[in-house]
Structures are given as C-alpha cells and as structure tokens.
Amino acid sequence: MNKIGKQTIKLDMAPSILETASIVGPKEAQGPLAKYFDKCLDDEFWGESTWEKAESKIIKETVNTVINKSGIPSNKIDYCFAGDLLNQCISSSFGLRELGVPFFGIFGACSTYVEGMALASILLSSGAGEYALYAASSHFCSAEKQFRFPLELGNQRPPTSQWTVTGSGAGILAKNGSGPYVTYITPGKVVDMGIKDANNMGAAMAPAALDTLITHFTDTGRNPSYYDAIFTGDLGYVGKEILIELAQTKGYNIKSNYNDCGVLIFDKENQDTHSGGSGCACCGSVFSGYIFNQMKTKKYKKVLLIATGALTNSTTVQQGESIPGIAHAVSIEI
C-alpha cells in the first residue's frame, strides 16, 4: 500500500468485495432498479413507531442480510464502518448496537458509503484484519424532518431539488478474495464553490466530484476510457450535466461511460423526483444492488465509483453559509 501522485492510495494487497446487500423503501421499489435490491419495503415505517427507528431497522437488517449472504459470521468480522445523515449518526449506531463488531461511526454526508468502503479497504490492506463491514443508510422522511419541513406541509419542491432515497447499502470486504477488488482510493478534498441553495445540492457537489475525478486520473495516469463505467453518488440530473461539462473544460470526456446513481434509481417522468435521488442510500443501494451485480456478471470489469456529499446542516443553511461538497473515489476492478 502506498501513496501515488497527489492524493491517491494504491492498494497492492487489494481487498476483495465479498458480498453486498441493499434494502430500499416503497418508492425506490417502483423505480427502474427494483429487481436488483435484496428487499423492497412496502411501508416507510416498517412496523416501527418513528422514522428514526425505521431507518435504524433498515440499516440493521441490511447488515444482517449481507452477513447471511456472505456466510461470514459476525464474530469473524474485525471492523465495521457505518454512517448516515441524522444528527450524531444515530441510525447506524442505534441500528448496529447489537452487532458486536468493533464500530467506527463515520460521517461524509451522502459520500459515507464510499468513505466506509475506502477506510475498511485501507485497514484490511494494512494487514490489521481479515474481514471488514461497511454500511450507510438514509430515509426520506427522517431527512425531510431534520433538514427541511414536516412531511404534511403543503409546499412545492423546486425542479432542482432531489429526493432522499429511503434504504441502506452494506458490503463485506475480505483481505483475501476472488474480487471484485478495491484497487485505488482517491479521497476527496472539501470543495466549496459558493452555492447556497439547499435545493440545488447537485450543483453544490459537482465541483468536488470534478476535483476528485481529475485528481484520480492525474494520479493514476488513467483516463476515462480505462473504465467500463464511472458512477457518481447523487449529483442528480443537474449535477450530472454540470460534471460532464466541467470535465470537458479540463480535457476529459466522460460523456459515454458516465452515469449518476441518483439518475439511475428513479424514473424521473413517472415518479416526479425532479433532479433525481440523493442520500447515503442512493449510492449505497445502487452500488450494492445494481453495480455490484453488473460486476459479478462481468458486464462491468472496471468501475470508478465517486460518492458525493454535501457537508451542510439546517443551521448553516439558515445562517446563510454556502454548501461545501466532498467526493471520494474508489476504483473497483475484477
């Protein structure tokens, strides 16, 4: 394991993604990717009394699912990295309090899923363990409650707004495995281009995604066509367009093999999700469900996954601060 270029980590003993799992809510279940998820809920409460409890249950059951699918008992898992969007990351810590695995709570806003995957990979690659687990969750209703308005408030969503994905994604990494392997990690810097509109997160995060994308290519010497597919986490339609154009100005053409998880997860026309999906579970469930499946079936052999996050909260928005963005990239190859 060593650092190459400005900020990229090359993993010589590349850990392998053993298994992934995803659970999503009812709206995601009506979307185009429904068949790739392990479980689709038909009720956002999932039998719980509050949104927060429901989100905890979702991440807990997702982790249980990935443990069952992988066949690795939880006492053999050395570390767990998990996070979510709620204050003090309570969904993941409450949901996973009975897991009994050493736990690192992490926050990277909607980039948490890849942040967890990257940190777990580094730990395994250093030789500090055999298996590591990572997970992230978000819930439309708990996010609306914390960041925006009560659900029953009769307000209109502007066309640039995004829809928080209800669900969770989780994965188990093994030090030795048969792939797909996490080969390179490019952790992102906090990038703030001064966007203040909390209803336009895609535009706020796109510069961070661009920075990480370009840095990854310069550090590794690769170019966009090296990858079968490049995915960003939740830039949505607005952010996706911006990233394509900004990358063009820097001399990289990503138009042909690039897509965004927030664009993929919903059907824009029929589901009225405006600029697309967002939230930790957006990248989390789309990678755990769809992209990992495509890699298993060898449709994609080399994937660059860049999860994006808007590092903001309702207080900073009210105080008129701009929205800093972050993006972490992992290169996953068979």
């Binding site: 809510g25 709206k27 439309f140 209703c141 009560p150 029953e152 209109q156 509109d197 209803n199 009225d272």
Partner: protein
C-alpha cells in the same frame, strides 16, 4: 338552498379574482426568489398589517370581501384593525390587546386543531 338565491354573484366573482391574484403574487415570490414558505407567510402578514394600518387594505376588503380577508394579508389587516380600534377605545393598552383579540378565533382554532390532529393522525410519506 335559500342562500344560493340571495347570493351576490358579482361579489363572489370579485372575491375569486382578488383572492386568486393575491395568491399569484405569493406564487411568483416562491418561484422567482428562494424564499421559504415561512418567510413568504411573514411577508404577507406584515404587508397586510402595514396596509391595514394605513387604511389602504380596507378598500380591498370593501371591494372583494373574503377575497381580501381570507389570504394571510387579511390576517395582518385584521390584527392591525383590531389594534387601531382598541386604541380608540382604551388607548395605549389597546395597542397591545386589540390585535390578538381580533385574531383570537383563528389563532386558537389553529392551535387547538393542530393539537387534536396530532392526537389522531400520523404523518405519511408523500407518494410523489
């Protein structure tokens, strides 16, 4: 159905048009600025109170009836009017008591119904 025969249809039309136009002003504010709903409600209630205090809003109320009183500007107008009338009656104290006294029914109803709704109803996910 006797009230249908006694209905002043022109009055109803004026009410519809003025009420609708006040809402259109709000809609333009929503779409053209990035104001949150709370800010827009505040702007409307304050504007209503100022126009009411200047005596201008009264003309609109006389012209459009509920078309001017039902929008939140009418709530502000009502508060201001109450304060002015109470000042006429009881001076300085009236400035403090008049506004809420005039709007008491609406405020109390909203608080009470809100409490009742929270007892019975549960929030549900927006389907779209």
């Amino acid at each position: 159905m006797e009230f249908l025969q006694n209905m002043d249809w022109m009055q109803l039309l004026r009410c519809f048009v003025v009420g609708g136009l006040i809402c259109v002003v709000g809609q333009i504010l929503i779409d053209k600025t990035k104001l949150t709903p709370a800010r827009i409600l505040v702007i409307f209630v304050t504007a209503g109170a100022i126009l009411g205090g200047l005596g201008i809003y009264q003309y609109l109320v006389d012209f459009a009836g509920a078309g001017a009183t039902v929008p939140l500007t009418g709530f502000g107008y009502n508060l201001a009017k109450g304060a002015i009338e109470a000042v006429k009656e009881s001076g300085l104290v009236g400035a403090f008591t008049g506004g809420i006294k005039a709007a008491a029914g609406g405020i109390a109803a909203a608080v009470f119904f809100g409490y009742i709704a929270s007892l019975i109803a549960k929030p549900k996910m927006k389907k779209q």
